[in-house]
């Protein structure tokens, strides 16, 4: 299949997942994603952006170990160091609006980010490659804005659920495609739902309910985010969490094997980075501005000023998208792609320039 056909298939898959109410099938696309209406639930080993032992209290602790010689059957000089990663959690993506990780072992929301989901390339590889890289842990894509710290923030009748011993993950229900996680802490069963807040930056809504009914409260020493509690009936609790940028992630950095920039290579890179999830190439609306006819066009920015989409503008938009936001589009959605090689930037630029309006 040619790149163009692959690209068309990808666009079709994107269109399907945006407009259809049923989940799309997972494909060779290493940047899978869901939507607000139909979130994608992915279970896989997950990245650990820096969770500490005060959060991972119910996990074991992997240790350094000696190198081992399979031939000798003995240890040999050298050390093997454990990797960072979360073994048994669930990742959920609502499209660019929200991604989060709910852990089945700690029974809590571990972290949340916006503007992308996971780059599965280190584990899934490419279609014709079929291999596994060394660490097989996907990479984050987007802007991290919430990360758990300290004991579990949920309290039942004034006592932290952390005091109830190891939580027991019971499963989840999908209601209108939206997952509600069910965890037992001691004698209480808590249902947790995490939702995006469309239009709001670096924010989510989290809802709890408990059986048997008890007073729920939320207490945390974590001061990095703003918390807004909502009034609810006995046994329920809803909050809005809004946080600062805790880090920006671009996925897995791939080796570039091309020796000169080209439109075809740019198209390939656009596919690798799943740009089409937000940027259409046919002029249709998306989470980001369309690329069709973009080059050379006048742009009206959020502050009302105008500029021309020349080479410098497009490169800046890739490397530092928040520098200049086009009117009608949200800031902080697109992660900065500031670590690509020069040939990748040049190729992407050539590709974007090749896309004329109405194509």
């Amino acid at each position: 299949m040619s790149h163009r056909l692959l690209y068309a298939a990808l666009l079709l898959a994107v269109a399907k997942s945006v407009y259809a109410a049923t989940p799309a099938m997972l494909t060779y696309d290493t940047r899978p994603h869901g939507t607000v209406e139909v979130p994608l639930i992915l279970r896989t080993y997950l990245p650990d952006p820096g969770l500490d032992d005060t959060v991972m209290v119910h996990h074991g602790r992997g240790e350094k170990t000696s190198e081992y010689s399979p031939e000798k059957g003995e240890d040999i000089p050298g050390e093997v160091v454990p990797l960072k990663g979360v073994p048994a959690a669930i990742a959920v993506n609502h499209g660019p609006e929200l991604s989060y990780v709910f852990d089945t072992t700690e029974g809590r929301l571990l972290y949340a980010w916006q503007g992308g989901f996971l780059d599965m390339f280190p584990y899934w590889g490419e279609k014709d490659m079929g291999t596994r890289l060394y660490d097989y842990v996907p990479r984050l894509v987007g802007i991290l804005f919430y990360q758990a710290a300290g004991r579990h923030p949920l309290e039942i009748d004034g006592r932290s659920v952390s005091e109830a011993g190891a939580p027991r993950f019971l499963g989840y229900d999908l209601v209108g495609n939206q997952p509600t996680f069910i965890v037992r802490y001691g004698r209480h069963t808590v249902r947790t739902r995490v939702r995006p807040l469309p239009g709001q930056q670096r924010a989510l809504r989290i809802e709890f309910s408990v059986e048997p009914a008890a007073r729920l409260s939320f207490r945390t020493e974590n001061t990095s985010f703003a918390l807004k509690k909502e009034d609810g009936v006995m046994g329920t609790l809803a909050l809005t969490l809004a946080g600062p940028s805790l880090g920006s992630y671009e996925g897995y950095s791939r080796k570039v094997t091309i020796t000169e920039a080209s439109v075809a290579a740019g198209e390939q890179f656009a596919r690798n980075y799943a740009c089409a999830v937000c940027h259409s190439t046919d002029g249709s609306m998306g989470h980001g501005p369309t690329w069709a006819g973009l080059f050379g066009r006048e742009r009206v920015l959020a502050d009302g000023t105008k500029t021309i989409a020349d080479d410098a503008y497009i490169l800046e938009a890739i490397k530092n998208p928040d520098a200049r936001i086009v009117q009608g589009f949200a800031p902080s959605f697109m992660p900065p792609y500031s670590q690509l090689g020069e040939l990748e930037y040049e190729s992407l630029l050539l590709y974007i320039k090749s896309l004329r309006a109405g194509q």
Binding site: A9, A13, T22, P23, A24, M25, L26, T27, Y28, D29, L40, I41, L42, R43, T44, Y45, D48, M56, H59, G60, R61, G62, E63, T65, S66, Y68, P70, E71, G73, D75, V80, V81, P82, L83, K84, G85, V86, P87, A88, T104, T105, M120, Y123, W124, G125, K127, D128, M129, G130, T131, R132, Y134, D135, Y136, F169, L170, G171, D173, L174, V175
Partner: protein, 504 residues
């Protein structure tokens, strides 16, 4: 089964077999590629059918899809049923719309409660094992026939580390070695009972990527050639036994806490050999099956040809499926392996097998991502093998006798089959240890002293100085023919003679 009843069965079967036309393998068994939607990553981790004949397929990235089997293999209309499984490698459908999926962290029940064809209730039915973060910690599953499941937990590979934060307790001693058991019950088969209780069942496995409970209630497990597995073993799994990979013993309460099982057995292979339960069938990895995956039992009603009740074992690193014939000798199972199919368009990474409800079609699921050396676009997917009614000439059943073997062929044999020169036999032993795999040891060329015709389809071969605790390789040469002149296309048979039957 005593000699008389053997003969009786043979006599009864003979007319039946003679009704079926002889056919070369490629005509008797047809392999078709089943298409998936474009771009769907067809990495097949589980195949099952519901009572209505709907096919469910679990793919390793997380989706479970369904399709109604149709005649044209390119026209299966796949539908999404469920998603959210981490390396789904076990699948069962107790009733339409309700599935059990064994995946790395969990055994999950997924149910379509509103009848719209999509699962909406996911329940954690079991997660009583650790997960270290190593890629090699795969899972296998089989029904226990009583509403519960057996679950096989693969060990980790030394080529990759664990995570800093593991699910479950971490053992520094279990972490040692080539394939290791750093977290609970890696290298064990677990039993999840219908009431939800889970118990460690048997230890000493390297990769239990496939379990089978047969129609007589026996549990079988394949494993992969590697450290502490000289060749690919096929085990009859019984509660409390240790099957030879030491790392798992760190989770056995009877094993002394201060003792490193790897070091202890490395230093004392005699004790190791006394403590372990040997394979019922040793399967040479180059000649037969390199990476044993999910075994399946052939339906007994003749729907798939003349091998009813025998076991098929696919190779996850080869274009082949082996056929295993077991029998109970002196109270323990042992038996023979031969190739059932080799090539014929079969892909290279055969991971899962399941028979369609009609018993006539065998579904084969392939995946290699992250495991095999095989690369390229056509190593993964779903195929089906359909029996078209012909019977290839081969040994239908190989049994041990006090002096050698009884060979029951699929068809009447020609007089040439009574020549001892038609049967080349050598024997060997294997010693599992810490190194990866093992060469055949003490290889001997055996002398076939006599060939005796038992009935028109059955011969017995007597071997000079026949002795137990050896693997016998029998090769039929082209002079062993059917009455109509066919010879066996896949002429190699390996019998693991752990024990010899008593002379009656």
């Amino acid at each position: 089964m005593n000699l008389r009843s053997c003969i009786l069965v043979s006599v009864l079967l003979a007319p039946l077999a003679s009704l079926l036309p002889a056919a070369p393998l490629a005509e008797a068994y047809k392999v078709d590629d089943i298409a998936f939607p474009a771009e769907v990553a067809a990495e097949v981790g589980g195949i099952a059918f519901d009572a209505k004949g709907l096919l469910y397929v679990a793919l390793r990235r997380g989706d479970v899809l369904t399709a109604k089997p149709v005649a044209d293999p390119s026209k299966y209309a796949w539908r999404f049923f469920a998603t959210g499984f981490d390396n789904a490698l076990g699948l069962a459908v107790p009733e339409p719309g309700r599935i059990f999926v064994a995946h790395m962290p969990e055994l999950t029940e997924a149910v379509d409660t509103d009848g719209d064809g999509i699962a909406d209730r996911y329940r954690n039915k079991a997660d009583g094992w650790g997960l270290s973060g190593n890629y090699h910690e795969t899972i296998g599953m089989s029904s226990d026939g009583e509403g519960g499941y057996y679950i096989g937990l693969g060990t980790a590979s030394h080529r990759s580390p664990t995570f800093v934060h593991t699910r479950g307790k971490y053992s520094p001693v279990g972490r040692r070695g080539r394939n290791y058991s750093a977290v609970e019950y890696r290298g064990w088969v677990m039993h999840l009972k219908a009431d939800g209780e889970i118990e460690p069942f048997a230890s000493g496995f390297r990769v239990t990527n496939g379990l089978l409970r047969d129609d007589e209630g026996n549990l079988w497990s394949s494993d992969n050639q590697g450290d502490w597995k000289a060749v690919t073993p096929f085990y009859h799994v019984e509660k409390g036994n240790f099957y030879g990979h030491p790392s798992s013993l760190v989770w056995d309460p009877k094993w002394p806490a201060d003792r490193d099982p790897l070091a202890a057995y490395r230093a004392d292979l005699d004790t190791y050999n006394q403590d372990r339960t040997y394979a019922a069938v040793e399967i040479p990895h180059l000649e037969m099956v390199r990476s044993g995956s999910e075994p399946v039992q052939i339906p007994r009603g003749g729907e798939f040809g003349p091998f009813g009740g025998q076991i098929l074992l696919p190779d996850a690193s080869g274009t082949r499926i082996a056929r295993i014939m077991v029998e109970k000798v002196d109270g323990a199972y042992q038996g023979a392996v031969t190739l059932f199919i080799n090539g014929q368009g079969l892909r290279i990474s055969n991971n899962r097998l399941a028979f369609a409800p009609d018993g006539r079609t065998l579904y084969v699921g392939q995946t290699s991502r992250g495991w095999g050396a095989s690369k390229g676009p056509n190593t993964e997917g779903l195929q089906r093998i359909t029996w078209r009614g012909g019977v290839p000439f081969t040994v239908q059943q190989m049994n041990i006798t006090p002096r050698g073997f009884r060979l029951t062929f699929t068809d009447r044999v020609s007089p040439g089959a009574l020549q001892a020169t038609g049967y080349a036999v050598e024997s060997m032993t294997y010693q599992s240890k810490w190194i990866y795999g093992g060469e055949p040891l003490d290889v001997r060329t055996e002398t076939v002293a006599a060939v005796t015709l038992i009935d028109d389809r059955t011969v017995e071969i007597a071997i000079d100085g026949f002795r137990p605790q050896r693997v016998y390789h029998l090769r039929l040469d082209g002079t062993v023919k059917s009455a109509s002149g066919e010879s066996a296309e896949l002429p190699d048979f390996y019998y693991t003679a752990n024990r010899l039957p008593a002379v009656r």
